[in-house]
C-alpha cells in the first residue's frame, strides 16, 4: 500500500489541496503547505508551473504565470518539496504538464521526486495511451501515477484507467478546465456511480469544487475532494493565510 492509498480509510473522506509552487513566491509556498496540513488537508498537490497550462482556467493560469516570473523551475519545486516534506507528514504529489517532466528526463525526475519526498504524480495531458513509459519508471521508484477520468470517458476508458491509475483516480467533475464554479453539474452522481461499478480504487473529484456545500455533495458519493483554484484565490486575497485556514477547516468539517 502506497503512502497515498493509506490515507483512504473506510468511512473517511479525504481532502486534497492544490497549490502552485512559487505563488506568490517560494517562501510563501512553505508556509502555505504547513497551513494546509494543520487545517486538515490529507494530501497536498504541489503544482509545478508550466508556461502553457491548457487544462487550467484563469486562476491557475495566473498563478502559474506569476510563479514562472518569480523564476520557479522544476528543480526549485523539487527543493521546495524536500523542505515541505521535512515539516509536514501528509503525502505530497506533484501536478504538472508532461513537457517539463520530459525535459527534466523521466528517470531523473522520478528519482529526484523520491529524494524530495514526493509520493505521486498527476499529469493532466498524459492519458494511459501515452503513459506507458512514465508508468514503468514511476512503478520502479514506488511513485504513484494518477490518471484522470472525465464525464466524456467511455466505458472502455474507465476500465483501462481503473486498471492503471495508482494512488487514486482523479475524476474531473465537469467537461471543462479548472476554476471555481457556482454549481457542480447535475450529472456528477451518475458519473461517479459509473466509475464505481468498474473500479475498486479510491475516487477523488476535482475541478470546480469551490465550497463546503460542494464538498458535502461530493463526499456523499466519492472518497475524496480536490480543491485548487479557490485556495489560490484565498491566498491572493489574504496574505496572512487566515482566510485560507478557515476555508480549509470548513471544507474538512463538511467532509466529516
Amino acid at each position: 500500500m502506497s503512502q497515498i492509498t493509506s490515507v483512504f480509510k473506510p468511512g473517511y473522506k479525504v481532502l486534497i489541496a492544490y497549490i502552485t509552487v512559487g505563488y506568490p513566491d517560494i517562501k510563501a509556498t512553505l508556509s502555505i503547505a504547513a497551513a494546509l496540513a494543520e487545517s486538515g488537508c490529507d494530501i497536498i498537490e504541489l503544482g509545478i508551473p508550466f508556461s502553457d497550462p491548457l487544462a487550467d482556467g484563469v486562476t491557475i493560469q495566473k498563478s502559474s504565470y506569476q510563479a514562472l516570473q518569480q523564476g520557479t523551475t522544476p528543480q526549485a519545486c523539487l527543493d521546495t518539496a524536500a523542505e515541505i516534506s521535512k515539516k509536514v507528514s501528509v503525502p505530497l504529489v506533484f501536478m504538472t504538464y508532461y513537457n517539463p517532466v520530459l525535459n527534466f528526463g523521466l528517470e531523473l525526475f522520478c528519482q529526484s521526486c523520491i529524494t524530495a519526498g514526493i509520493n505521486g504524480l498527476i499529469v493532466p495531458d498524459l492519458t494511459p495511451e501515452e503513459g506507458a513509459e512514465l508508468e514503468a519508471i514511476t512503478r520502479k521508484h514506488d511513485l504513484d501515477l494518477v490518471y484522470f477520468l472525465a464525464p466524456t470517458s467511455t466505458e472502455e476508458r474507465i476500465a483501462a484507467v481503473a486498471e492503471r491509475s495508482r494512488g487514486f483516480i482523479y475524476l474531473v467533475s465537469l467537461t471543462g478546465v479548472t476554476g471555481t464554479r457556482d454549481t457542480l453539474p447535475l450529472e456528477l452522481e451518475g458519473f461517479v456511480k459509473r466509475v464505481r461499478q468498474k473500479s475498486k480504487q479510491p475516487l477523488c473529484v476535482g475541478f470546480g469544487v469551490s465550497t463546503p456545500e460542494h464538498a458535502k455533495r461530493v463526499a456523499a458519493i466519492a472518497d475524496g475532494v480536490i480543491v485548487g483554484s479557490r485556495l489560490i484565490q484565498l491566498i491572493e486575497e489574504d496574505a496572512t493565510l487566515a482566510s485560507l485556514k478557515s476555508f480549509v477547516a470548513s471544507m474538512r468539517e463538511a467532509l466529516n
Binding site: 508532461y98 495531458d125 467511455t154
Partner: protein
C-alpha cells in the same frame, strides 16, 4: 503509410491531451475514416473544391523571376488564387464538411495570420455553422484586415491576451474552449499540429496541393520537379505540397522556417533548426523551449510562422533526411516579397515570401533545365501595413 495506429510518425506525434478530449479524438478519427470511404463525401468535397474554392489552382511558370535570377526554372503553385487567398481553405472545407456530418453545430478555430480564421469563418457561413475564432491580440493588431473579414462572414473573434498574444496562445484558448464544449463543438484546427488524428487529417486535406502540382508538372514538362520549396510554421502548406511526392525519391524537399531577427538572437520561430523534442498542444515534435521545459516566446515578421512548435511529420522528415530545413530572416523575407512583386506582379503573403527568398538563392546555382516548384501559399493583401512600414513606404 504513416502515421501509425497510435498517430506516430516515427517517434513524433501521439495524443497528449486531457482525458476529457480523448473520446472526441476517437470520434473524429472514426468519422474521418467513414467519410473517406464514402463516395458521396468525396464527391461533395471535390465539387466544392472546384466550384467554391476554384481548384485546381494554376502551376505558373514564373519566367520573369527565373530570367532575372538566371538559373533554374521556377514554378509557382498558386494557392494565393484559392478562394479567401490562401491554402487554408482546403482544410477548412474538408473539416467543415466532416463537422457537419458528425452533427456538430459549433465550430471553433485558432488563427495566427488570420488566413485560417478567414477560411474557417467562410466555410461556416457557407455550411450554416456557428463559428468562433481565437486570435492573439498582437496578431489582431498586425493582421487587422483579416479580423474584419472574419467578422464580415459572421464569425466571432475572441482576442487572446495571455502569453505572447500570438498563435500559440490562441491554440491554448481554443483547446480550453473545446474541453469545455466538446459535446456540440468541433475544433477546426488549421495546421498539421495538435493531437492525432489532426496532423493526418489536415495533411490529407492539404495534399490536394501536391496532387495537383504533380499532375500539372507532368502534363506541362513531362517530368517530375527537382525541388519542392515551401515555408514551414506549423507546416500545413509544405506537407500538402510535399506529401504526394514522398515516394518520388529524386524530388528534394526544402522547408523554410522563420529566421526572424536571426537564429543567433533567440527572436525567431525555427523549431526544426534550433528546437528539441518536446510536447505541446497534444503532440510530440521539435519544440522551442528553455532549459526548464517552458515554451519559449517566438518571433517572426510573418504571423503565420510565429509558432514554437511544428507538425510531427516534419520532425520525422527532418530526422530521416527526407526533407532539408533552412531559415530565412525577416529582412530576407521582405526581399523575397519585393522580388516577386517586381518581377511577376504578384504580391505574396509574408509567409511564402520566406520561401521565395530561398528559391531565388537556390535557383541561381542551378542550370535552367532544373525545375523548382514553390508553394505560393497565400496572397499578401493582409500584410500591406507590415510591409509598407518595414520598407518605409508611404501608401
Amino acid at each position: 503509410m504513416l502515421p501509425d495506429k497510435r498517430g506516430y510518425f516515427g517517434e513524433y506525434g501521439g495524443k497528449f491531451v486531457p482525458e476529457t478530449l480523448m473520446s472526441a479524438l476517437s470520434e473524429l478519427e472514426t468519422a474521418y475514416a467513414e467519410a473517406m470511404a464514402d463516395d458521396d463525401f468525396q464527391k461533395e468535397f471535390n465539387h466544392l473544391c472546384r466550384d467554391y474554392i476554384g481548384r485546381p489552382t494554376p502551376l505558373y511558370c514564373a519566367q520573369q523571376l527565373s530570367d532575372k535570377i538566371g538559373g533554374a526554372t521556377i514554378l509557382l503553385k498558386r494557392e494565393d488564387l484559392a478562394h479567401t487567398g490562401a491554402h487554408k481553405i482546403n482544410n477548412a472545407l474538408g473539416q467543415g464538411l466532416l463537422a457537419k456530418r458528425m452533427g456538430k453545430t459549433r465550430i471553433i478555430a485558432e488563427t495566427g495570420a488570420g488566413q485560417h480564421g478567414v477560411a474557417a469563418a467562410t466555410i461556416c457561413a457557407m455550411l450554416g455553422l456557428e463559428c468562433i475564432v481565437y486570435m492573439g491580440s498582437e496578431d489582431m493588431r498586425r493582421q487587422s484586415p483579416n479580423v474584419n473579414r472574419i467578422k464580415l462572414t459572421g464569425a466571432e473573434v475572441r482576442p487572446v491576451t495571455s502569453g505572447s498574444c500570438t498563435l500559440k496562445d490562441a491554440i491554448n484558448e481554443a483547446i480550453r474552449d473545446w474541453v469545455s464544449n466538446v459535446q456540440n463543438t468541433h475544433y477546426l484546427l488549421g495546421s498539421v499540429v495538435g493531437p492525432h488524428p489532426y496532423p493526418m487529417i489536415v495533411r490529407n486535406f492539404q495534399a490536394i496541393i501536391g496532387q495537383e502540382a504533380r499532375e500539372q508538372v507532368l502534363a506541362d514538362y513531362g517530368r517530375l520537379p527537382d525541388y519542392l520549396v515551401a515555408c514551414v510554421g506549423g507546416g500545413s502548406n509544405s506537407i500538402g505540397l510535399f506529401h504526394p511526392f514522398y515516394n518520388d525519391k529524386n524530388v528534394k524537399f526544402i522547408g523554410v522556417e522563420a529566421g526572424g531577427l536571426g537564429l543567433e538572437t533567440n527572436k525567431h520561430s525555427a523549431a526544426l533548426l534550433t528546437g528539441k523534442t518536446g510536447v505541446l498542444h497534444g503532440t510530440k515534435s521539435y519544440l522551442m523551449e528553455n532549459e526548464h521545459g517552458q515554451i519559449r516566446e517566438t518571433h517572426s515578421i510573418a504571423p503565420g510562422l510565429d509558432y514554437p512548435g511544428v507538425g510531427p511529420e516534419h520532425s520525422y522528415y527532418k530526422d530521416s533526411g527526407r526533407a532539408t530545413y533552412i531559415a530565412v530572416t525577416d529582412v530576407q523575407a521582405l526581399e523575397g516579397f519585393k522580388l516577386l512583386c517586381d518581377t511577376e506582379g504578384i504580391i505574396p503573403a509574408l509567409e511564402p515570401a520566406h520561401a521565395i527568398y530561398h528559391v531565388a538563392k537556390l535557383a541561381a546555382g542551378l542550370p535552367q533545365e532544373q525545375l523548382i516548384i514553390v508553394n505560393l501559399s497565400g496572397r499578401g493583401d493582409k500584410d500591406l501595413e507590415i510591409v509598407t512600414r518595414a520598407l518605409g513606404m508611404e501608401l
